[in-house]
Amino acid sequence: MSEALMRLVRHVRPGMRVLLPVDYAGVAMALTRPLIAHLSAQGGAGLHLICVPTGGLQADLLIGAGLVASIETSAMSLGEAGGAPQFNQAVKEGRIALRDATCPAIHAGLMAAQKGVPFLPMRGLIGSDVLRHRPDWKVIDNPLSDTPDPIALIPAIQADVAIFHVPLADRDGNVRIGRRRELAAMAYAAKTTLVTAEKITETSLLSDEVSAAGVLPALYVTEVAEAREGARPYGLWGQYSGDTQELIRYAKMARSPQGFADYLAGYMGGAAV
């Protein structure tokens, strides 16, 4: 595992609240193996994962590797490959604390953190069992309404670390996020942001107004490392497609503890250190 990737994952410590992006936004899959190696060495990582707003392979691998204490997510899915087997099993057995959400609630929680406020209100939710099982979400009467008007409040999601993958970064640490503004939302809400990039360029990404529009400024980025093909087996927008066959292969193997262990061994034994 490259020293650059190890340098990134050393920022992640047991018990941290970790933001991970949805599969089409740019998942730092290349960091998964270093993360598992680094945290397993520390024993019982107890990470609190927050999927923005849904999770997939990366979260499932971390759960299967025993590194997750809790997960907040709107859904866990491997797309065409079906459900996430390690998540399903861990939930069934009660091995991880579960915070079911719905996508806009996760966006609301991140926006509250972005704005430095304790909560953001949100419509919907009332009468849903998702709300019923979230003691941290409150329903109040809208103080600005003349008539009774219940509305839910979503608390700010303050995270320790955000981790994602992008097509391009520059030497200053500015990273291209394009239309994937949820990556900016993650970085705004996290103390530390770790980014892998297909490529690091010498030209400043802020040097022209067209390019600059889709850039997350270096101010919000703690560290960047190059990782070509870094999202695989997921695709990366504008760069390459995902590998559904690999996800199906994982889904099959990960259905059983032995199968998952075999997959993980193969995964961890991959490239030379």
Binding site: A84, T102, S128, R179
Partner: protein
């Protein structure tokens, strides 16, 4: 002689009818039939000089959003999304949907992916179309075990949207908000009322004589098999391919 209408073509055509008058419809990433239905509705709108916008979520090419994955929900919040589709592990007689699982909570013995955006979109999109090909008592239940999103809300709870219809591989129901219940409005060819009653775990209303779901024909069917099938191949290549194969084998029959 062209092939008889395929089951999927009936569904796609019915979806397009359900979308009449809509300006902007959002379709989830794993929904080929709704996407095709929206594409047919778009083609028909264009013939009539109107316009229908289609967002296919999770797609890069067929997604004109530029503000990340929050934008769909903001768009709906602003009243700019007229229609949305929802499936559901369970759909019950009051229109409640369960996307989370069965056999207890939080330790669901059978766990599904999760609620996605349903606990919000079900409340704010005016025309939510419930769509499940599988019509069985395990899907259409008397009471959902977990309510990802309720079919209706009490008076006084802000709600601008909700379910309007439930389309399955057997029939079409409309949803009556006032009654919080379904009404069977048409049976697909070859399906009887008794069969639907047997396979549906909730009570529903129906007229004495339930008509057949109209089949697409003539120009509409040509549009479906031509332009729409070509368009849907871009986002759902496997769906388009199997559709083409079915047409070939039907035409031979």
């Amino acid at each position: 002689m062209s092939a008889a209408v395929l089951p999927r073509e009936l569904l796609i055509s019915t979806i397009a009818t359900l979308l009449e008058g809509v300006g902007h419809v959002a379709v989830g990433a794993s929904s080929p039939a709704p996407a095709a239905g929206a594409m047919l509705a778009r083609a028909l709108a264009e013939e009539a000089g109107a316009r229908l916008r289609l967002s296919i979520l999770g797609s890069v090419e067929h997604n004109f959003f530029t503000n990340g994955s929050a934008e769909l929900f903001d768009c709906a919040a602003q009243g700019r999304i007229d229609a949305f589709f929802l499936g559901g592990g369970q759909i019950d007689g009051r229109g409640n949907v369960n996307l989370v699982g069965l056999g207890g909570y939080p330790q669901s013995q059978l766990r599904w992916p999760g609620s996605f955006g349903s606990a919000y979109l079900y409340y704010v999109v005016p025309r939510v179309i419930l769509f499940r090909e599988e019509h069985s008592p395990r899907v259409l239940v008397g009471e959902a075990e977990f309510i990802s999103a309720p079919g209706t809300s009490p008076e006084g709870v802000h709600r601008s949207g909700g379910p309007v219809a439930l389309l399955t591989g057997k029939c079409l129901f409309h949803f009556d908000k006032a009654r919080a219940g379904f009404t069977l409005v048409s049976l697909h060819p070859g399906v009887s009322l008794e069969e639907v009653k047997d396979l549906t775990g909730f009570a529903f209303q129906h007229a004495a004589n339930v008509p057949q779901t109209p089949l697409p024909e003539g120009a509409r069917l040509q549009l479906l098999r031509g332009r729409v099938r070509a368009e849907v191949a871009g986002s759902y290549p496997a769906f388009a391919t199997s559709w083409g194969a079915e047409l070939k084998s039907e035409a031979k029959a």
